[in-house]
Symmetry: C2
Subunit: 248 residues, 2 copies
C-alpha cells in the first residue's frame, strides 16, 4: 500500500489516496486514530462507475463515519472501472445488458451471470488484499465491516472473509441465481438497504435475496424513492449498526 | 381524566394510572416534564389482549422513551378487552377467526372485517379522547406520535387525527381490504416494523399494506423472528424517528 496523496480536513479526518499494486484506493481515518487507539474499519463498496464519479457520495459517507463515529473507511476501484485497464469481457456483458434493456424485455440470467460473476471473482480477492493492507496499519484495528454495493461482492465477501464481522448491503441491481444460493452461507449480522421505488432494480428479487441471506440477525430498511435516494438518516442507522457489532 | 394511582420510579419517570370515563389507561411522564418544558407525547397502541397482560412490554417501551428520550407516553385499554365490559360482537368474530384457523383454511375477508372494523370505529375516537386529555395537561405538549398495533387503529388514527404527526406501525395481523384503501390517505411520516417470520401474519399482505400507505416519507424495518421478537434496538430507532418528526 503506497500512499500517493494526503489531506487533513477541518473535521480532523485524514484522507489519503493510495495504490495497492495497480489498484487505486482512498483511506479515511479519524483524527482520534492512533496505534494506542486504533480505529475500526468500514470497507465502502460501490457500483462499477469509477471512483472519480462515485467520489462525492463515498467521501460524504466515509467522512461522516470518521468524524462522527470514529471509524476508519476505505474504498478501492473495481476491476475494469475508472482508471484501471479496460476489461473487454465485462464491457461486452454491459453491452448485452444495454441491448436487453433497450429491447424492453426481461434481462436473462445468462446476461446477469456474465455481468456479475467475473466481477465478484476478481473484486473479492482485491477487497481482501485492501483489508490486509489497511489492518496492517497501526492506526487501524479489526474486525471490519463492509458497506454498499455491488451487493454480490458484499455477499461473497461476507460469506468467505472471516474478518468481515458485519455488513450493510445495498439491495439491487442484478443478482445471479448462484449468488442467491451463496447468500444462504452468510452468517454475520446484516443490514440491507432497499430503495422501494428503485428504477433499475426488481423489488421482489431484492426481497427474495434478503429472505435467502443466512444470517440470524438481519434487518431490512426499505425507504421510498429511487436508487440514489437513500435518506441521510440511514447513514446514522448504519453507523449504529456497525458500532453494535464491530467490537473487539 | 382521573388519576387513580401514582408511582415515581428510580429513573425519574412518573407512572400514573387513570380512567377516562370508563376507560382505564396509564400515563408515563419523564422527570424533566413541566409546564415550562412540556414533554412530547407518544400514544402506545397494543393488540386487544388486555392492558394487564400487555403491561410489561408497554411499560418497558414507555419508560425507555421517557427516561432516555424525554417523551411522555400513554396507553388506554381497547374496547372489549381487559377489565372493560364484554363485547359480544367482537367475541363472536374472534370465535369465527379461531374456527377458521383451526380448520387450517385461509381466513376470509368477512371474518377480518368483522374482527377489525368495529374495533377501529370504536377505539379511534377513544384514542382521540385520550389525546385531548393528555394534551390538556400542562406537562405535555403537541404534536404527538402513535406507536404499535392494532395496525388498523394506527392507520385510521394517522389518517384522521391531525395532531398525530408521525407514527410507528407494527405490521400485521389481519387488515381489512377497506383499510388498505384507507392507508392511501395517510400522509404523516411512518416507520413500519415487520417481523419477517411472524407466525400469525402474512408477510406479503404486510408488504402490500406498506406499499399502499400514502406517506411520502415511510420506512420499513424488517427483522427476523416471530411476532413478539422485535429487537430492542428498534426501540431506539423508533425514538430517533419520533425525535426527528415531533418538533414544535
Amino acid at each position: 500500500m503506497q500512499f500517493t496523496s494526503e489531506q487533513r480536513h477541518d473535521d480532523g479526518v485524514l484522507e489519503r489516496e493510495f495504490t495497492l499494486g495497480d489498484i487505486p484506493g482512498i483511506l479515511w481515518t479519524p483524527g482520534s486514530a492512533s496505534a494506542a487507539a486504533p480505529a475500526t474499519l468500514i470497507l465502502i463498496g460501490h457500483p462499477p462507475l469509477g471512483l472519480r464519479r462515485m467520489y462525492p457520495r463515498l467521501a460524504a459517507r466515509a467522512r461522516h463515519y470518521a468524524a462522527r463515529y470514529g471509524f476508519a473507511a476505505a474504498t478501492i476501484e473495481l476491476p475494469g472501472s475508472g482508471e484501471r485497464p479496460r476489461w473487454p469481457e465485462i464491457e461486452q456483458a454491459r453491452a448485452g445488458l444495454r441491448e436487453a434493456m433497450a429491447a424492453g424485455g426481461p434481462v436473462g440470467g445468462e446476461i446477469i451471470d456474465a455481468l456479475v460473476l467475473p466481477l465478484v471473482e476478481k473484486a473479492v480477492p482485491e477487497w481482501q488484499a485492501a483489508l490486509d493492507a489497511c489492518l496492517a496499519l497501526p492506526e487501524i484495528g479489526g474486525p471490519a465491516g463492509y458497506e454498499g454495493g455491488v451487493i454480490s461482492v458484499g455477499v461473497r465477501l461476507a460469506a468467505v472473509e472471516p474478518r468481515i464481522a458485519a455488513a450493510t448491503l445495498f439491495a439491487g441491481s442484478f443478482v445471479p441465481e448462484s449468488m442467491v444460493e451463496e447468500a444462504r452461507r452468510v452468517a454475520v449480522p446484516l443490514l440491507v438497504l432497499l430503495q422501494w421505488d428503485d428504477e433499475g432494480n426488481d423489488r421482489q428479487a431484492s426481497l427474495n435475496l434478503f429472505d435467502a441471506l443466512g444470517s440470524k440477525e438481519k434487518t431490512l430498511h426499505a425507504n421510498m424513492g429511487g436508487h440514489t435516494g437513500v435518506p441521510q438518516f440511514e447513514l446514522d442507522a448504519g453507523a449504529r449498526f456497525f458500532a453494535r457489532h464491530l467490537k473487539r
